[in-house]
């Protein structure tokens, strides 16, 4: 089979994975860009979402209720990080690492002390599964994932327009000014972390159903994928998408692009021992583009100035 046709075949799967991770990336966007906090809880709360969802579905709960519980569990994880940061005075990055560390044990407890819990689509009425990603039917996970993404973006768009949401944005933009306006920045940071980790756990819950199991290591390195999606989205759409809702959409598209590039690299027949190197390179290139661009512009601007003075 030719490379292109097999790639076209692989695209639905890559897009589905990208959409599911995109919801997590939107969560990362809230802390990283809006709150201006580097939150490393996500590596743990992604697996928490997956674990809670899988265990509840296995216990016979409806998948929708299981998703809701997963989101609540993720919010609880964010709440703990928030308390570490605001009530115990621990720097945000450390608070996140502490929660992430603790979540390993918590997740193991949730999963009944097992590192991997299977969730077969043949046995439970799952909302989505990788099995149907190429089928033209209602069971295809893509429409549902799109629906989730749109719903999440719409909800966040509405929320960040409310008074509370605006105060949250102010907290991230200029905490001193926000406090001067009578905003309780500490409670806002906690709220933002809860919101973010709730979304991350939602993503974990969707992913666990998609890949048919929850794994204690499934969140490892999630923050890298999240940041990559945020930055790829900004590099490509930064100048076009000015609206807040569109910016969130860019993050989601960023995650899809990340997975498509990864899939291309794999389809090219790369030695998968180099997978992590490739991942790092993809992110590094997208991180470097804004810097190279700014240097290029400054350079051309300077040479223009020089040209001008010579003419005078």
């Amino acid at each position: 089979m030719s490379f292109l046709s097999s790639l076209m075949n692989a695209l639905p799967g890559a897009a589905a994975q990208g959409l599911a991770w995109g919801i997590m990336a939107i969560g990362v966007y809230i802390t990283f860009r809006i709150l201006d906090v580097a939150d490393l809880t996500v590596d743990g709360s992604l697996a928490t979402g997956g674990a809670v969802c899988v265990m509840l579905i296995r216990a016979g709960l409806s998948p929708w209720l299981a998703l809701l519980c997963a989101v609540l569990a993720g919010m609880l994880a964010g709440f703990v990080t928030g308390l570490f940061h605001t009530r115990c005075g621990i720097p945000a990055i450390l608070a996140g690492i502490l929660t992430q560390l603790a979540l390993y044990s918590v997740n193991l407890r949730i999963m009944g002390s097992k590192a991997n819990q299977a969730l077969s689509v043949d046995k439970y009425p799952l909302l989505l599964s990788q099995r149907y990603v190429r089928e033209l039917s209602l069971k295809n996970p893509l429409p549902l994932l799109l629906l989730f993404t749109v719903a999440v973006i719409a909800l966040l768009y509405w929320f960040f327009g409310t008074e509370k949401g605006s105060s949250l944005r102010a907290t991230g933009a200029n905490p001193n000014m926000a406090r001067a306006q009578g905003i309780n920045t500490n409670s806002n940071i906690v709220l933002g972390l809860m919101l973010s980790n709730g979304l991350v756990a939602l993503s974990g819950a969707l992913l666990a159903q998609y890949q048919g199991s929850s794994d204690i290591n499934m969140g490892r390195g999630a923050i890298v994928i999240g940041l990559a999606a945020v930055i790829i989205g900004e590099v490509i759409f930064g100048k076009v998408f000015m609206n807040f809702g569109l910016k969130l959409l860019a993050v989601s598209i960023g995650a899809i692009i990340y997975y498509i590039v990864l899939q291309i690299v794999l389809q090219l027949g790369l030695n998968t021992n180099d997978l992590k190197l490739i991942t790092a390179l993809i992110v590094a290139v997208f991180l470097a583009i804004p810097y190279w661009k700014s240097r290029m512009f400054r350079h051309t601007a300077q040479s223009k100035q020089k040209g001008g003075s010579q003419n005078a």
């Binding site: 089979m1 077969s120 290591n217 027949g269």
Partner: protein, 333 residues
């Protein structure tokens, strides 16, 4: 979008692609070294291999699988050998590639790879290997020994009852046994639970000592050594990568270990009921050949095992002053 943006975007994408092309060039050569007989394009069957993580035992199973298939169907099989580098999300991406390529068979090496493959397709035959308990890995109630559908494979489970017997045969005086394993390993918990059951039937007390990763192996092993007369270590990947750290604690404490696998025993144990992962891969490869040629129907193939041989670690026995039992062969250094 202005032209500069488009130019820079195209340039960056080109850069990423050329980098990956360059690296995949090296990758192709490496893959060909792995499977000498694979031919480009002219192969009759395409087999996708998804391995969870780079690891001595898993690598041996993959190699055995490739060798067995190349022997059974020389020059007819093209392998796509992919490794998820320990990340279960990568398994999904890899398997997605296999399904879209329409490979003839998927070999899933380790639990994470198997669950990802099972979620991805119900048509393409999937053979698992290095999996301890299929009933646990795939969540099947009252597992009968045959998965059915499009899944079968081989199990690395050596008889756990026999392993518990080994502990009481080698150390009849032992009253307390520490079960040392990694809490992140799906297979380990099943094994230690079974061994604990068998030991408690013999009136031996057991306690679990679980470490989370490489960083706390030494301290957890220390508390296990303080507690126990004998330590039992299952076929645990993290333990396998840290045998030196474990032995550095156990040897000074004078506590012997019975292990579930030869590699771990060679590093830090006294005796083991060993299976060879290479042989396990060969068994899997033979099953694959039957499925590819249409000789056997995967839905009716039961999970296969490989023979376990009792072995002991000669230098460790000498250090701890233990007399090896009869019927055990020394592990080659």
């Amino acid at each position: 979008m202005n032209t500069k943006r488009i130019v820079s975007l195209v340039a960056s994408l080109a850069l990423v692609l050329s980098l990956s092309l360059g690296l995949s060039g090296c990758g192709d050569k490496a893959a060909q070294d792995d499977s000498q007989d694979s031919t480009d394009g002219s192969a009759k069957y395409v087999v996708g291999i998804c391995q969870l993580v780079q690891h001595e035992a898993l690598d041996a199973a993959t190699q055995g699988f490739i060798d067995a298939l190349n022997e059974a169907l020389p020059g007819q099989v093209e392998f796509q050998n992919k490794n998820a580098s320990g990340d279960s999300a990568n398994c999904s991406t890899i398997v997605n590639g296999f399904v879209s390529d329409g490979v003839d068979l998927i070999m899933a090496n380790a639990t994470g790879a198997l669950t990802a493959a099972a979620a991805a397709t119900s048509d393409i035959p999937i053979l698992g290997t290095s999996i301890t308990a299929y009933g646990v890995a795939l969540d099947i109630d009252n597992f009968s020994g045959t998965v059915g559908g499009n899944i079968s494979g081989t199990s690395d489970l050596a008889d756990l009852g026999k392993q518990a017997d080994m502990i009481s045969e080698w150390f009849p005086e032992a009253k307390k046994v520490a079960l040392l394993f990694c809490s992140g390993e799906p297979n380990s918990r099943y094994q230690i639970e079974e061994v604990a059951k068998c030991l408690s039937d013999k009136g031996i007390e057991t306690k679990e000592f679980a470490f989370t990763d490489t960083n706390d192996v030494a301290s957890v092993t220390q508390s296990a050594a303080d507690y126990a007369d004998v330590v039992y270590i299952p076929t645990d990947n993290i333990a396998a990568s840290n045998t030196e750290a474990i032995s550095n604690v156990l040897v000074p404490a004078g506590v012997p270990a019975i292990c579930g696998e030869e590699g771990i025993c060679k590093g830090c144990g006294v005796a083991t009921l060993s299976i060879s992962y290479y042989d396990l891969g060969v068994t899997t490869g033979k099953m694959a050949a039957k499925i590819l040629t249409g000789e056997a129907d995967i839905s009716e193939m039961p999970i296969e095992f490989t023979e376990a041989t009792p072995k002991y670690n000669a230098s460790m026995c000498e250090t701890l002053g233990i007399e090896p039992l009869e019927g055990y062969t020394a592990i080659e250094e």
